[in-house]
């Protein structure tokens, strides 16, 4: 009687486990495919169901580290001319020191991909625009180089191309006389990859940057944002930035 009972539970456990495994095997490709499907096919428009965002944990940012900055420069061909006043910077490392307490920290600053971007509001031609998935871009064909967006950006995120460029990369068009800024590596995001800065930060095991869909509750960034406190730079402007910071 006891033996039978014991056998029964083992079998039940086995059957239960097997059923779960089979169900898992059947569902997993679907779940994975769903993940992959977020890298939308090239012939489909971007969807506002997705809101791309970035979470930066400044506690993990070491002073003097420039891995994300270098990765960005390489990805987009941002070679300087040795003129720091006019050379473009899409992401930069910023050192902060509290005037009262002396506490210091370092963080990367880039286009914050606002939900309500002032650069888009002021652009006379509509060259500054926000994609449905929240990525703020400049249409280099419509930009007339008036620089009003640079006046309006609260983050100094934009650069004006001050001289002729002869080493452009095919996936990252630039042009003298137009304004440019971080694109969240849209060419990578559209094929299911993460921005170059995030990839570099991860590759060097700093893991200070997370990129993902802020609208998807299951995404790593959403979970982290829900679990831990984070901040927007100049939150007082109510721009609902796509880049969030921890530790500032």
């Amino acid at each position: 009687m006891t033996d039978n009972a014991h056998t029964d539970t083992t079998r039940r456990r086995f059957l239960g486990g097997a059923a779960t495994a089979v169900a898992g095997l059947a569902l997993a490709p679907g779940v994975l495919l769903h993940k992959v499907a977020q890298a939308r096919p090239a012939d489909e428009p971007v969807s506002s169901a997705v809101r791309w965002g970035m979470l930066i944990d400044t506690n993990k940012c070491a002073k003097g580290c420039s891995d994300c900055v270098n990765a960005c420069a390489k990805e987009h061909g941002l070679t300087g001319h040795g003129r720091p006043q006019t050379d473009a910077q899409w992401i930069r490392s910023v050192d902060l020191r509290d005037k009262q307490t002396g506490y210091t920290q370092t963080l990367p600053l880039l286009c914050q991909h606002c939900e309500h971007p002032p650069c888009v509001d002021v652009c006379p031609t509509g060259a500054s625009f926000k994609r449905a998935d929240g990525i703020v871009l400049v249409d280099k064909h419509i930009c007339i180089g008036c620089r009003y967006c640079m006046m309006a950006c609260p983050y100094k995120a934009r650069s004006f191309v001050h001289e002729t460029i002869d080493d452009q990369l095919p996936h990252s068009p630039r042009g003298k006389g137009t304004v440019e800024s971080c694109t969240f590596c849209v060419e990578r995001v559209d094929t299911g990859r993460t921005p170059a800065c995030v990839e570099a930060c991860k590759a060097e095991n700093h893991n200070a940057m997370i990129f993902g869909d802020m609208n998807d509750p299951a995404s790593e960034i959403s979970k982290q944002l829900k679990k831990y406190n984070s901040r927007q730079i100049r939150a007082d402007l109510e721009l609902n930035t796509g880049v969030r910071y921890r530790g500032i």
Partner: protein, 407 residues
Amino acid sequence: MKQQIQFMEIDGGPRFYSLLGAIGLFVLAGLAAAFYMEHNGHYVTGMSNQIVWGTPHVFAVFLIVAASGALNVASISSVFGKTPYKPLARLSGLLAIALLVGGLAVLVLDLGRPDRLIVAMTKYNFKSIFAWNIFLYTGFMAVVGVYLWMMMERRMNRFTTVSGFFAFVWRLILTTGTGSIFGFLVARQAYDSALMAPMFVIMSFSFGLAIFILVLMAACKWSERPLGDAILFRLKNLLGVFIASVLYFVMVYHLTNLYITENHGVERFILLDGGIYTQLFWIVQVLIGSLLPIILLYLPFTGKSRGWIGIACALAILGGLAQMYIIIIGGQAYPLEMFPGKEVISSFFDGGINSYTPSLPEVVLGIGGVAIALAAVFVGIRVLRFLPTSLADELVDPHYSTDKAAA
């Protein structure tokens, strides 16, 4: 029985063409400077990713603001019914269009891609005050053009008041739009103020009238046409009031900022330790560009002297340019406040005072814009009847009496 005011083109001849040629040289130099900047890229200028609007914008915005103000003399006659100003209304309209063309030329030639002007004319984002301004500026030229036609075509004279009123309202909206370019910028401490719009309106009154008086005195002297004291003294008294009004707005702007703790930094920068900007503010804008001309315009001795009135106008213009420089470049020189309470350092010049030195091409382009405006006025009064043959007191002054003349 008073004589009628007559309008006549100024004489041509070698004198006309040599002066026009001289102005033309400045226009050419401005165009050459623009070509140089566009060909090489803006790195050859003093502008950078920190100071994105430089000296060309100072000249351009000054000219655009002055343009709407130059129309005031016509408005005083058509809208407010002051007959002594009526003979000046045509020149006022011409100067308004000319200054606007000069300012817009500088603005467009300083674009990163001036070749894409057609894009700016065909693609609009109507949430942008810049896009609105494109309509306000081009519309202003059309509206003032119609107004001039109503004034100059005798059969149309009865529409002068209506078109003048329309032009007056349009110019108020236009300058509101220009001031709002800065007023709507939430990101920067020095801007982001509703006061910018009315302050620009009153600035336009002052700058436009100062230029108008100088152009009027020069045109009358050059063409040897009488310019009576009555009308000139009216204009210069008005200018004194306008200069004082600008000072009032500047004072309210700074007082408001001084009350708000988060703006103490930028106020300290402009008013106390901003180096060139502080010097420009106190010495050029306030002292030489505002208080001195007010004194010159109202002191009995200097206020009745044409030389001193001319100097006062020139000083008011200088003060206006300094004010524009402080607003546009000083406002950008002060860093963005992204991290309150923190010292900020980066390779992108965050947190520090941004440096800017005007380059020669920028200044030459700006002066080129002034030259375009002057050339347009000069050609205008040569080919059409903008300038009265006489502005002598007995023709213009409603209170003129022969007794006064005899005395």
